[in-house]
């Protein structure tokens, strides 16, 4: 096993060849010791798209060894930023060339609409890689004045080394580019484990990594089950750093494994229960649009999903009316249907999980304002669902659902709003809607989240950092800040004339 298979791309009406092996040293190879495979399902119709090789712990060893070898010979300090920049720009150009077929592959495996996959996921990914290509030849250290005539000191921002990168299934291509781009820019080598649910686009992009001209071993892609490949990377003695995006539960395990093994550096991008505050001076129509985006985009499968909306008392009824009508107009369906706004949730497991939260909301006494009815037929579709009259102790209010399920509450004063918004162990995103400039400044200063949106929600830029406070994560992605996650600072103290006397 490990031979490429043929996958039909419906809208382009053609078949593409999809590699199914593990991508190690620029080749697609079978597992050394296992015959396990990952079955990739189309969540819109529950059919099998393809089966790919699942990496075993020994395969992870092989990938790490390939990466280490590249780091010591062709990458790391053996190449310069100008070279890395060129290769990264080439990769971005190739992804741009193949954007349509990659988008359709992404839709088949993840369910999101094709035009969203192409214009947003892939469009942003291309831009992300280009952005970091621009950083590759700009990794500078400092020179520091100590005692000018006898000593010179400076820092070198060196690549950390072999980086294990574990990414989720909600934005497969986009998450891959957020991870590989800053790592490659700084000179690191990569062992990337895509989600076992959505490994296909990563494997297809691996072909472009070869075409772009990256030396073997610089980028390795090893689809695998989390407890197998992910755990192996987190505990590996020769991996210098692990970067993980996914659930907070798994994030804890990663950090524990890192601590117990070689104290590898850890960055985590975890869950959220992000609040939006709608103040009375807000443009309610706009705020409702952003709130709808916040919970419906990507069918709610977004770490910064605006899953809690709190509306100031004085405008509650009016806002709810607008919000419900906006969300009601959002239709989910097959990603190849141009008319849909979103697709199914990604898998049976997620489907069951989201539904159990919806049932819990009903059981705990929240008021079901929209949705809450299962659809008949095939496909893991969950229609947008809104609960109102919530209490802070409800599961649907405290826990991350990761589906299009919104909890709406109310508040009287600004202080109360901020307090409820911050009442969570998470701290990934937050939004506020108000036409009072001072209020915007005050509230944005006090919201405890890594990204705060004012009169907007969920829109990111590749050059603005993103990450979590509190239990939403450690470290930042995007912007210049991501470079710090992949550089190791060495201070060089260079004696140019001081003689030591001993004993002192």
């Amino acid at each position: 096993m490990a031979q490429p298979v043929s996958v039909r791309i419906p809208a382009l009406n053609k078949d593409i060849s999809l590699p199914t092996g593990l991508f190690i040293n620029n080749e697609f190879v079978p597992s050394v010791d296992s015959s396990e495979t990952l079955e990739c399902i189309n969540p819109s119709n529950e059919e099998v798209i393809a089966r790919v090789v699942a990496a075993s712990p020994k395969d992870i060893d092989r990938a790490v060894a390939a990466a280490r070898h590249a780091f010591n010979t062709t990458w790391g300090k053996n190449c310069n930023g100008f070279q890395r920049s060129r290769l990264m720009n080439k990769l971005a150009d190739l992804i741009e060339r193949d954007a349509q077929e990659l988008a359709e592959l992404e839709t088949l495996n993840n369910g999101k609409p094709v035009k969203v996959a192409r214009d947003f996921d892939i469009g942003d990914s291309i831009q992300c890689i280009r952005y970091y290509a621009g950083w590759a030849d700009k990794i500078t250290g400092q020179t520091i004045e100590i005692e000018g005539t006898v000593k010179t000191a400076f820092t070198r921002h060196e690549p950390i080394g072999v980086c294990g990168q574990i990414i989720p299934w909600n934005y497969p291509i986009n998450m891959m580019s957020w991870k590989i781009a800053p790592a490659l820019a700084t000179g690191c080598v990569i062992v990337l484990k895509p989600s076992e649910i959505t490994p296909l686009s990563a494997l297809k992009i691996a072909e472009l990594v070869v075409e772009a001209g990256f030396p073997p071993g610089v980028v390795n892609i090893v689809p695998s089950l989390g407890p197998v490949g992910g755990a192996a990377l987190a505990a590996h003695p020769d991996v210098d750093k692990v970067a993980f995006t996914g659930s907070t539960v798994t994030g804890r395990k990663i950090m524990e494994a890192a601590a117990k093994s070689n104290l590898k550096k850890v960055s985590l991008e975890l869950g959220g229960k992000s609040p939006q505050l709608i103040f009375e001076s807000a443009d309610l129509d706009q705020a409702a649009n952003w709130a709808a985006l916040g919970i419906c985009y990507n069918s709610g499968q977004d770490c910064t999903a605006g899953s809690r909306v709190y509306v100031q008392d004085s405008v509650y009824d009016k806002f709810m009316e607008i919000l419900v009508s906006k969300v009601k107009a959002t239709s989910f369906g097959d990603g190849f249907d141009d008319a849909v706004a979103g697709g199914p949730v990604v898998s049976k497991t997620q489907y069951d999980r989201v539904w159990s939260y919806i049932e819990s909301g009903k059981a705990e006494g929240a008021k079901l304002v929209l949705g809450g009815e299962k659809r008949p037929g095939k496909g893991f579709f969950v229609d947008p669902t809104i609960f109102a009259e919530i209490r802070p102790d409800m599961k649907i209010v405290k826990e991350e659902i990761f589906g299009p399920v919104l909890s709406v509450g109310r508040f009287k004063t600004e202080e109360e709003g901020i307090k409820i918004a911050n009442e969570t162990t998470y701290g990934l995103g937050a939004g506020l809607h108000s036409n009072d400039a001072s209020q915007c400044m005050r509230v944005s200063a006090l919201l405890e989240a890594g990204s705060v949106w004012v009169n907007q929600y969920n829109l990111l830029s590749n050059n603005v950092p993103f990450g979590g406070k509190k239990q939403s994560g450690i470290g930042r992605e995007l912007g210049s800040y991501a470079l710090e996650e992949y550089t190791s600072v060495k201070a060089v103290h260079w004696n140019i004339g001081e003689k030591l006397e001993w004993p002192l």
């Binding site: 930023g81 100008f82 920049s85 060129r86 720009n89 831009q127 280009r130 952005y131 290509a133 621009g134 950083w135 590759a136 030849d137 700009k138 500078t140 000018g148 005539t149 010179t152 001072s438 400044m441 005050r442 200063a445 590749n462 050059n463 210049s480 260079w494 004696n495 140019i496 004339g497």
Partner: protein
């Protein structure tokens, strides 16, 4: 009237045809000068006229400034997000790469440098444009720490319409050093290339069009320094001028800037850079680098190592090998693969250099090598070395800008550092020594914007370059160049301070 230039290259180094629109490039179009006059472009290899190009006037500068201002207010400046500026610059670098050989051939034809070195220049120019493309979406300001009653932050805004005047020694490279950081930060440009070497600049205008830059973002006005250059330096609507050229002209630019609208000024001027070789240097390496330092680009380099200080212990050996090395320089046709040195760029330069050689002889220096014209056609000068000089001689004090250097014997480290720094210039310097402590200590004491240790004339797009003292103001290349083209605005937002 539409003008164009066509040239068939049929040489050992390059065969191909160049054919492109010429004229002033204003608001995205090629146009005649308002006076309908032209300037001859001379091939320095033969002394013959290659073509004529449009002559710009101060009126044309006004038109260009208006176009640049319009573009800044509508399609460029902060109306064009950094990611877009980045894309266009990357596209431009790709087009330059596509047409690299043609650009190099035009450069060799127009300037006289060898085709091989012109290829080197064009590679560096491409790398520079690519490097600054990467900065375009990374122009960060700061947020400063204050208390919660106030928010303060800075914006690094583009200045607006910037004037750029470049020399004839590295026409395409200087063009890229100027336009790349200016465009990356969102400025629009009025550029005056040298009237001696306008061809690659004009060729770049077609590439700028093809890359998709909106009209008016880059404008090129060919013309003379005392008309076009002067008009730019004193223009009331140009808020910043960047000049590379002689110190003499640099003073005039700064004076005009002061007298007009106090526009910001950056200058990249001359040098008389010292190259210090200690007894413990690797002599063969030092000889090779010293030759490169002095004779690269026919000595027409602002940072040329024109004063070579050699410690007495190795002086004789160094001089012997340096002379042999210099004799190996083949002077001739820039398109012949075996040539390492072509002609000087113009009659004016030729005459100037020859008069310095004459002065060296007259003031009593020993002519050790060369000193004559090479050949009978074009502006070729033999690689020339003077020894046994005195510090006050003109050839030791003044910038010659040709393949003429002085080799000076020294004994004492402290004394040579004093002699090396005893100049109004401060562009570059070099130290050759195998003792790294001494090399670094001396390098740190030299008053120059670039200090080379055990090398010479190595320049990278990401490392700043510029002068101390009368060699200039400001830095090009690296992140530092961005400062030349940004205006810092501090924004103070009151969040709760009451005024009674």
């Amino acid at each position: 009237m539409s003008t164009a230039f066509s040239h068939e290259f049929n040489t050992a180094s390059y065969k191909g045809k160049a054919s492109f629109n010429t004229g002033l490039f204003i608001d995205g179009k090629f146009v005649d000068g308002s006076n309908k006059t032209f300037i001859d472009v001379v091939n320095p290899t033969s002394g013959k006229v290659i073509t004529k190009i449009a002559e710009g006037t101060s009126k044309d500068v006004d038109t260009a400034v208006e176009a640049a201002q319009r573009a800044f207010d509508t399609t460029w400046g902060l109306n064009a997000p950094g990611a877009l500026r980045s894309r266009l610059l990357t596209k431009l670098s790709q087009l330059m790469e596509r047409d690299q050989q043609e650009l190099a051939a035009l450069e060799a034809l127009d300037n006289g440098k060898t085709f091989a070195w012109a290829m080197n220049d064009t590679s560096a120019a491409i790398e520079t444009v690519r490097y600054y493309a990467g900065w375009a979406d990374k122009i960060h300001g700061q947020v400063q720490e204050t208390d919660e009653k106030k928010l303060t932050y800075t914006r690094h805004e583009p200045i607006g319409v910037v004037g750029q005047i470049i020399p004839w020694n590295f026409p395409l490279l200087m063009f890229s050093w100027k336009i790349a950081p200016a465009l990356a930060t969102g400025n629009t440009i009025v550029m005056k290339p040298s009237e001696f070497t306008p061809l690659t600049a004009i060729r770049m205008c077609s590439l700028i069009q093809e890359a998709g830059f909106p009209p008016g973002v880059v404008n090129v006005v060919t013309g003379y320094g005392h008309t076009v250059g002067q008009a730019m330096a004193s223009h009331m609507k140009i808020e910043k001028i960047a000049f590379t050229g002689s110190t003499l002209t640099g003073r005039r630019i700064m004076e005009s800037a002061a007298k007009s609208n106090l526009k910001k000024v950056t200058l990249e001027l001359g040098g008389k850079s010292p190259n210090i070789v200690f007894n413990d240097a690797n002599v063969d390496e030092a000889v090779a680098w010293a030759a490169h330092g002095l004779f690269w680009n026919h000595g027409q380099t602002c940072c040329a190592g024109t004063r070579i200080f050699v410690q007495s212990g190795i002086y004789d050996e160094f001089l012997k090998r340096f002379t042999e090395k210099s004799k190996q320089i083949k002077v001739g046709d820039p398109f012949a693969p075996e040539t390492s040195q072509g002609p000087q760029v113009s009659q004016v330069q030729y005459d100037r250099i020859m008069s310095y050689i004459k002065s060296g002889k007259e003031q009593g220096a020993k002519l050790h090598l060369g000193g004559d014209r090479a050949g009978s056609e074009g502006y070729f000068i033999q690689p020339t070395i003077f020894t046994e000089t005195k510090p006050e001689m003109k050839i030791v004090q003044e910038e010659i800008f040709g393949p003429v250097g002085v080799v000076i014997k020294f004994e004492d480290e402290e004394d040579v550092v004093r002699q090396a720094n005893d100049t109004v210039y401060g562009l570059a310097a070099a130290v050759f020594s195998q003792d790294i402590n001494r090399a670094l200590t001396v390098a740190h004491k030299l008053k120059a914007g670039t200090a080379w240790v055990n090398c010479y004339n190595l320049i990278d797009a990401n490392v700043p370059f510029g002068g101390f003292k009368q060699s200039g103001i400001g830095r090009e290349c690296g992140e530092y160049a961005l400062e030349n083209y940004t205006n810092v605005k501090a924004v103070h937002v009151n969040l709760g301070i009451k005024m009674n």
